[in-house]
Protein backbone atom coordinates (compact mmCIF):
# COMPACT_ATOMS: atom_id res chain seq x y z
CA UNK A 1 0.00 0.00 0.00
CA UNK A 2 1.58 3.30 -1.05
CA UNK A 3 1.17 6.59 0.82
CA UNK A 4 -1.70 7.80 -1.31
CA UNK A 5 -3.62 4.54 -0.96
CA UNK A 6 -3.17 4.65 2.77
CA UNK A 7 -4.40 8.23 3.06
CA UNK A 8 -7.34 7.42 0.80
CA UNK A 9 -8.23 4.49 3.03
CA UNK A 10 -8.24 6.75 6.09
CA UNK A 11 -10.22 9.47 4.32
CA UNK A 12 -12.79 7.03 2.97
CA UNK A 13 -13.16 5.47 6.40
CA UNK A 14 -14.57 8.75 7.72
CA UNK A 15 -16.88 9.35 4.78
CA UNK A 16 -20.07 8.34 6.68
CA UNK A 17 -19.39 10.91 9.42
CA UNK A 18 -21.68 13.90 8.89
CA UNK A 19 -22.84 16.86 10.95
CA UNK A 20 -26.45 16.61 12.06
CA UNK A 21 -26.95 20.05 13.59
CA UNK A 22 -28.89 22.43 11.31
CA UNK A 23 -27.29 25.71 10.22
CA UNK A 24 -30.14 27.64 11.88
CA UNK A 25 -29.20 26.28 15.32
CA UNK A 26 -25.56 27.20 14.75
CA UNK A 27 -26.44 30.73 13.66
CA UNK A 28 -28.80 31.23 16.57
CA UNK A 29 -26.04 30.23 18.96
CA UNK A 30 -23.61 32.52 17.09
CA UNK A 31 -25.98 35.48 17.41
CA UNK A 32 -26.24 34.79 21.13
CA UNK A 33 -22.45 34.81 21.45
CA UNK A 34 -22.31 38.06 19.51
CA UNK A 35 -24.92 39.70 21.74
CA UNK A 36 -23.07 38.51 24.82
CA UNK A 37 -19.85 39.97 23.52
CA UNK A 38 -21.48 43.32 22.78
CA UNK A 39 -23.14 43.33 26.17
CA UNK A 40 -19.75 42.69 27.73
CA UNK A 41 -18.32 45.65 25.88
CA UNK A 42 -21.10 47.87 27.13
CA UNK A 43 -20.55 46.68 30.66
CA UNK A 44 -16.84 47.32 30.36
CA UNK A 45 -17.59 50.85 29.17
CA UNK A 46 -19.32 51.79 32.40
CA UNK A 47 -22.36 51.16 34.61
CA UNK A 48 -20.98 47.77 35.58
CA UNK A 49 -23.20 47.01 38.55
CA UNK A 50 -26.42 48.25 36.93
CA UNK A 51 -25.83 46.45 33.67
CA UNK A 52 -24.80 43.22 35.39
CA UNK A 53 -27.83 43.26 37.66
CA UNK A 54 -30.17 43.89 34.76
CA UNK A 55 -28.56 41.16 32.70
CA UNK A 56 -28.88 38.58 35.45
CA UNK A 57 -32.50 39.56 36.01
CA UNK A 58 -33.36 39.17 32.36
CA UNK A 59 -31.59 35.82 32.20
CA UNK A 60 -33.52 34.45 35.12
CA UNK A 61 -36.87 35.61 33.82
CA UNK A 62 -36.39 34.26 30.34
CA UNK A 63 -34.82 30.95 31.24
CA UNK A 64 -37.78 29.00 29.94
CA UNK A 65 -38.83 31.31 27.15
CA UNK A 66 -38.32 30.57 23.48
CA UNK A 67 -35.79 33.40 23.29
CA UNK A 68 -33.68 31.82 26.01
CA UNK A 69 -33.97 28.43 24.39
CA UNK A 70 -32.62 29.86 21.20
CA UNK A 71 -29.58 31.13 23.07
CA UNK A 72 -28.11 27.65 23.34
CA UNK A 73 -27.60 24.69 21.10
CA UNK A 74 -30.63 22.44 21.11
CA UNK A 75 -31.33 20.73 24.41
CA UNK A 76 -31.38 17.38 22.66
CA UNK A 77 -30.78 15.92 19.25
CA UNK A 78 -32.25 12.82 17.69
CA UNK A 79 -30.49 11.30 14.73
CA UNK A 80 -31.83 8.30 12.85
CA UNK A 81 -29.36 6.12 10.97
CA UNK A 82 -30.20 4.25 7.78
CA UNK A 83 -29.99 0.96 9.70
CA UNK A 84 -32.81 2.10 12.00
CA UNK A 85 -30.63 2.94 15.00
CA UNK A 86 -31.52 6.19 16.76
CA UNK A 87 -28.83 8.27 18.39
CA UNK A 88 -30.01 10.59 21.16
CA UNK A 89 -27.83 13.36 22.59
CA UNK A 90 -29.17 15.20 25.62
CA UNK A 91 -27.46 18.41 26.61
CA UNK A 92 -30.11 19.95 28.85
CA UNK A 93 -33.11 18.60 30.68
CA UNK A 94 -35.68 20.57 28.72
CA UNK A 95 -38.66 19.57 26.62
CA UNK A 96 -38.37 15.91 27.62
CA UNK A 97 -42.03 15.16 26.75
CA UNK A 98 -41.27 16.42 23.24
CA UNK A 99 -38.19 14.19 23.10
CA UNK A 100 -40.25 11.22 24.22
CA UNK A 101 -42.89 12.00 21.61
CA UNK A 102 -40.24 12.29 18.93
CA UNK A 103 -38.72 8.92 19.83
CA UNK A 104 -42.12 7.24 19.91
CA UNK A 105 -42.83 8.76 16.51
CA UNK A 106 -39.55 7.27 15.28
CA UNK A 107 -40.70 3.84 16.43
CA UNK A 108 -38.89 3.63 19.78
CA UNK A 109 -41.29 2.83 22.64
CA UNK A 110 -39.78 4.81 25.51
CA UNK A 111 -40.71 6.84 28.54
CA UNK A 112 -38.34 9.59 29.65
CA UNK A 113 -38.26 11.22 33.04
CA UNK A 114 -35.86 13.44 34.92
CA UNK A 115 -37.32 12.76 38.34
CA UNK A 116 -37.39 9.62 40.44
CA UNK A 117 -39.84 7.34 38.79
CA UNK A 118 -41.98 5.08 40.93
CA UNK A 119 -43.90 2.36 39.24
CA UNK A 120 -46.61 0.22 40.78
CA UNK A 121 -45.52 -3.15 42.08
CA UNK A 122 -45.14 -5.69 39.32
CA UNK A 123 -44.72 -3.13 36.58
CA UNK A 124 -41.01 -3.67 36.09
CA UNK A 125 -40.46 -6.63 33.85
CA UNK A 126 -38.21 -9.44 34.93
CA UNK A 127 -36.68 -9.57 31.48
CA UNK A 128 -34.55 -6.46 31.89
CA UNK A 129 -31.29 -8.37 31.95
CA UNK A 130 -28.16 -6.36 31.14
CA UNK A 131 -27.29 -8.36 28.07
CA UNK A 132 -30.62 -7.69 26.44
CA UNK A 133 -30.40 -4.01 27.27
CA UNK A 134 -26.91 -3.82 25.91
CA UNK A 135 -28.28 -5.22 22.71
CA UNK A 136 -30.82 -2.42 22.49
CA UNK A 137 -28.87 0.52 23.84
CA UNK A 138 -25.33 1.53 22.99
CA UNK A 139 -23.93 2.01 26.46
CA UNK A 140 -20.29 2.35 25.67
CA UNK A 141 -20.42 5.92 24.35
CA UNK A 142 -22.95 7.22 26.77
CA UNK A 143 -20.97 10.20 28.02
CA UNK A 144 -20.02 13.22 25.96
CA UNK A 145 -18.30 16.48 26.77
CA UNK A 146 -21.60 18.27 27.30
CA UNK A 147 -24.19 15.70 28.29
CA UNK A 148 -25.17 12.13 27.70
CA UNK A 149 -25.72 10.24 24.50
CA UNK A 150 -26.94 6.80 23.64
CA UNK A 151 -28.06 4.81 20.66
CA UNK A 152 -31.33 2.91 20.59
CA UNK A 153 -32.25 0.07 18.29
CA UNK A 154 -36.06 0.02 18.33
CA UNK A 155 -36.21 -3.17 16.28
CA UNK A 156 -34.52 -5.07 19.09
CA UNK A 157 -36.98 -4.02 21.77
CA UNK A 158 -39.11 -7.07 22.53
CA UNK A 159 -42.76 -6.93 21.60
CA UNK A 160 -44.92 -5.53 24.37
CA UNK A 161 -42.06 -3.86 26.21
CA UNK A 162 -40.58 -0.40 26.31
CA UNK A 163 -37.51 1.38 27.57
CA UNK A 164 -37.81 3.48 30.66
CA UNK A 165 -35.15 6.19 30.66
CA UNK A 166 -34.42 8.09 33.87
CA UNK A 167 -32.14 11.12 33.66
CA UNK A 168 -30.42 12.37 36.78
CA UNK A 169 -29.48 16.07 36.70
CA UNK A 170 -25.93 17.12 37.38
CA UNK A 171 -23.19 19.50 36.26
CA UNK A 172 -23.27 18.34 32.67
CA UNK A 173 -27.01 18.02 32.40
CA UNK A 174 -28.12 21.51 33.28
CA UNK A 175 -31.54 22.15 34.65
CA UNK A 176 -32.69 25.56 35.93
CA UNK A 177 -33.97 24.90 39.47
CA UNK A 178 -30.75 23.83 41.15
CA UNK A 179 -29.48 25.47 44.31
CA UNK A 180 -26.49 24.68 46.47
CA UNK A 181 -26.58 25.47 50.18
CA UNK A 182 -24.82 23.98 53.20
CA UNK A 183 -23.26 21.21 51.19
CA UNK A 184 -26.56 20.07 49.71
CA UNK A 185 -27.71 20.33 46.14
CA UNK A 186 -31.43 20.80 45.68
CA UNK A 187 -32.78 19.62 42.36
CA UNK A 188 -36.42 19.92 41.31
CA UNK A 189 -37.41 20.84 44.80
CA UNK A 190 -36.14 17.62 46.35
CA UNK A 191 -33.00 17.66 48.53
CA UNK A 192 -30.27 15.28 47.52
CA UNK A 193 -26.78 14.91 48.89
CA UNK A 194 -23.92 16.93 47.47
CA UNK A 195 -22.40 13.92 45.74
CA UNK A 196 -25.45 13.57 43.52
CA UNK A 197 -24.09 13.12 40.03
CA UNK A 198 -25.63 13.30 36.63
CA UNK A 199 -26.48 9.98 35.19
CA UNK A 200 -28.83 7.92 33.13
CA UNK A 201 -30.63 4.74 34.03
CA UNK A 202 -32.35 2.65 31.41
CA UNK A 203 -34.54 -0.32 32.15
CA UNK A 204 -36.82 -2.48 30.11
CA UNK A 205 -40.41 -2.55 31.34
CA UNK A 206 -43.74 -3.88 30.19
CA UNK A 207 -45.42 -1.45 27.85
CA UNK A 208 -48.80 -1.76 29.48
CA UNK A 209 -51.19 1.09 30.19
CA UNK A 210 -51.91 -0.03 33.82
CA UNK A 211 -48.52 1.43 34.79
CA UNK A 212 -49.90 4.90 34.23
CA UNK A 213 -52.82 4.58 36.61
Amino acid sequence: MNDQDLLTTVRDGFEPVQMTIPADDIMTRGRSLRRRRRRGQVVAGGALAVALGAGLGVSALTAGSPAAQQATLTAWTVQRSPDGAITVTIRELRDLPALQARLVLDGAPVTISDTSLTLPHGCVAQTSVPLMLQNIVGFSAIRTATGVAFTLRPARIPQGQQLQILLIPGPRLRTPPVTVANGKVTVHGGPVTSNARPGIFITLVKATPPCAS
Binding site: V10, M27, T87, A145
Partner: protein, 167 residues
Protein backbone atom coordinates in the same frame (compact mmCIF):
# COMPACT_ATOMS: atom_id res chain seq x y z
CA UNK B 1 -31.54 36.00 4.42
CA UNK B 2 -28.88 38.72 4.02
CA UNK B 3 -25.66 38.12 2.12
CA UNK B 4 -23.64 37.52 5.30
CA UNK B 5 -26.05 34.86 6.48
CA UNK B 6 -26.22 33.28 3.05
CA UNK B 7 -22.43 33.25 2.84
CA UNK B 8 -22.09 31.65 6.24
CA UNK B 9 -24.80 29.08 5.50
CA UNK B 10 -22.99 28.13 2.31
CA UNK B 11 -19.68 27.89 4.18
CA UNK B 12 -21.28 25.73 6.85
CA UNK B 13 -22.84 23.43 4.27
CA UNK B 14 -19.56 23.01 2.43
CA UNK B 15 -17.19 22.73 5.39
CA UNK B 16 -19.15 21.12 8.22
CA UNK B 17 -18.49 17.46 7.41
CA UNK B 18 -14.78 17.96 6.75
CA UNK B 19 -14.39 19.87 10.00
CA UNK B 20 -16.32 17.21 11.92
CA UNK B 21 -14.17 14.44 10.47
CA UNK B 22 -10.98 16.34 11.27
CA UNK B 23 -12.02 16.93 14.88
CA UNK B 24 -13.41 13.40 15.26
CA UNK B 25 -10.12 11.95 13.97
CA UNK B 26 -8.27 14.07 16.52
CA UNK B 27 -10.41 13.58 19.63
CA UNK B 28 -11.74 10.09 18.86
CA UNK B 29 -15.26 10.73 20.20
CA UNK B 30 -17.92 11.45 17.60
CA UNK B 31 -20.48 13.15 19.84
CA UNK B 32 -17.90 15.30 21.57
CA UNK B 33 -16.51 16.20 18.14
CA UNK B 34 -19.94 17.26 16.91
CA UNK B 35 -20.54 19.43 19.96
CA UNK B 36 -17.10 21.02 19.60
CA UNK B 37 -17.53 21.68 15.89
CA UNK B 38 -21.01 23.13 16.43
CA UNK B 39 -19.64 25.50 19.05
CA UNK B 40 -16.74 26.46 16.78
CA UNK B 41 -19.05 27.19 13.86
CA UNK B 42 -21.24 29.28 16.17
CA UNK B 43 -18.17 31.29 17.13
CA UNK B 44 -17.27 31.59 13.46
CA UNK B 45 -20.69 33.10 12.78
CA UNK B 46 -20.29 35.42 15.77
CA UNK B 47 -17.01 36.64 14.21
CA UNK B 48 -18.00 36.05 10.61
CA UNK B 49 -16.60 39.27 9.15
CA UNK B 50 -13.18 38.31 10.48
CA UNK B 51 -13.40 34.59 9.80
CA UNK B 52 -14.55 34.95 6.19
CA UNK B 53 -11.34 36.88 5.47
CA UNK B 54 -9.23 34.11 6.99
CA UNK B 55 -7.11 32.28 4.42
CA UNK B 56 -8.60 28.95 5.54
CA UNK B 57 -11.88 29.46 7.45
CA UNK B 58 -12.41 25.73 7.94
CA UNK B 59 -8.98 25.49 9.56
CA UNK B 60 -10.05 28.34 11.86
CA UNK B 61 -13.09 26.28 12.85
CA UNK B 62 -11.06 23.14 13.55
CA UNK B 63 -8.47 25.09 15.52
CA UNK B 64 -11.24 26.75 17.56
CA UNK B 65 -12.92 23.40 18.17
CA UNK B 66 -9.70 21.89 19.47
CA UNK B 67 -9.02 24.92 21.67
CA UNK B 68 -12.58 24.69 22.99
CA UNK B 69 -11.95 21.06 23.83
CA UNK B 70 -9.05 22.10 26.04
CA UNK B 71 -11.16 24.68 27.89
CA UNK B 72 -14.05 22.22 28.31
CA UNK B 73 -11.62 19.64 29.62
CA UNK B 74 -10.21 22.12 32.14
CA UNK B 75 -13.72 23.01 33.27
CA UNK B 76 -14.71 19.34 33.44
CA UNK B 77 -11.84 18.64 35.83
CA UNK B 78 -13.53 20.93 38.33
CA UNK B 79 -16.91 19.27 37.92
CA UNK B 80 -18.22 16.17 39.61
CA UNK B 81 -17.61 13.22 37.30
CA UNK B 82 -20.44 11.10 35.98
CA UNK B 83 -21.06 8.00 38.05
CA UNK B 84 -20.80 5.75 35.05
CA UNK B 85 -18.51 5.80 32.08
CA UNK B 86 -16.13 8.25 33.74
CA UNK B 87 -13.29 6.36 32.10
CA UNK B 88 -15.13 6.19 28.82
CA UNK B 89 -12.53 5.27 26.28
CA UNK B 90 -12.53 7.46 23.26
CA UNK B 91 -13.32 5.87 19.99
CA UNK B 92 -15.39 2.93 21.06
CA UNK B 93 -19.11 2.52 21.22
CA UNK B 94 -22.04 2.64 18.92
CA UNK B 95 -21.96 6.36 18.32
CA UNK B 96 -18.59 5.95 16.69
CA UNK B 97 -19.34 2.70 14.97
CA UNK B 98 -19.90 4.27 11.58
CA UNK B 99 -16.10 4.33 11.38
CA UNK B 100 -14.02 1.17 11.60
CA UNK B 101 -12.92 0.95 15.28
CA UNK B 102 -9.52 -0.30 14.19
CA UNK B 103 -9.03 2.83 12.12
CA UNK B 104 -9.97 5.08 15.03
CA UNK B 105 -7.77 3.09 17.37
CA UNK B 106 -4.84 3.37 14.98
CA UNK B 107 -5.29 7.15 14.76
CA UNK B 108 -5.61 7.48 18.53
CA UNK B 109 -2.32 5.67 18.99
CA UNK B 110 -0.57 8.44 17.08
CA UNK B 111 0.84 11.36 19.09
CA UNK B 112 -1.70 14.18 19.14
CA UNK B 113 0.31 16.51 16.93
CA UNK B 114 0.66 13.82 14.27
CA UNK B 115 -3.08 13.22 14.45
CA UNK B 116 -3.75 16.93 13.99
CA UNK B 117 -1.49 17.06 10.96
CA UNK B 118 -3.18 14.04 9.40
CA UNK B 119 -6.62 15.50 10.11
CA UNK B 120 -5.88 18.88 8.58
CA UNK B 121 -4.14 17.44 5.54
CA UNK B 122 -6.69 14.72 4.88
CA UNK B 123 -10.06 16.17 5.77
CA UNK B 124 -9.50 19.87 5.04
CA UNK B 125 -7.10 19.35 2.13
CA UNK B 126 -4.70 21.92 3.58
CA UNK B 127 -1.24 22.09 2.09
CA UNK B 128 1.91 21.99 4.20
CA UNK B 129 2.15 25.76 4.62
CA UNK B 130 -1.49 26.18 5.65
CA UNK B 131 -1.25 23.24 8.05
CA UNK B 132 1.88 24.74 9.57
CA UNK B 133 0.21 28.13 9.95
CA UNK B 134 -2.87 26.60 11.55
CA UNK B 135 -0.90 24.60 14.08
CA UNK B 136 1.76 27.26 14.65
CA UNK B 137 4.65 25.00 13.70
CA UNK B 138 7.27 25.02 10.96
CA UNK B 139 6.45 23.53 7.54
CA UNK B 140 9.32 21.08 7.92
CA UNK B 141 7.80 19.85 11.17
CA UNK B 142 4.50 19.24 9.39
CA UNK B 143 6.26 17.15 6.77
CA UNK B 144 8.08 15.15 9.41
CA UNK B 145 4.92 14.56 11.45
CA UNK B 146 3.03 13.43 8.37
CA UNK B 147 5.78 11.04 7.31
CA UNK B 148 5.94 9.48 10.77
CA UNK B 149 2.16 9.23 10.97
CA UNK B 150 1.96 7.53 7.59
CA UNK B 151 4.68 5.07 8.56
CA UNK B 152 2.87 4.20 11.79
CA UNK B 153 -0.52 3.93 10.13
CA UNK B 154 0.91 1.68 7.44
CA UNK B 155 2.14 -0.71 10.10
CA UNK B 156 -1.17 -0.59 11.92
CA UNK B 157 -3.51 -0.79 8.96
CA UNK B 158 -1.76 -2.88 6.35
CA UNK B 159 -3.42 -6.25 5.70
CA UNK B 160 -0.28 -8.08 6.81
CA UNK B 161 -0.35 -6.32 10.15
CA UNK B 162 -4.00 -7.19 10.55
CA UNK B 163 -3.26 -10.84 9.82
CA UNK B 164 -0.41 -10.86 12.33
CA UNK B 165 -2.53 -9.32 15.02
CA UNK B 166 -5.22 -11.98 14.46
CA UNK B 167 -2.73 -14.82 14.82
Amino acid sequence: MDSDAAGFAEFYRAARDGCLRAVFATVGDRQAAEDLVAEAFARAWAHWRTVREHPAPSAWVVRTALNTRVSWWRRARREIPLPDRTADTAGDGDLDSVVDPELIAALLRLPERQRQVVALRLFLDLDTAATAATLGIAPGTVTAHLARAIATLREELSPAACEESRQ
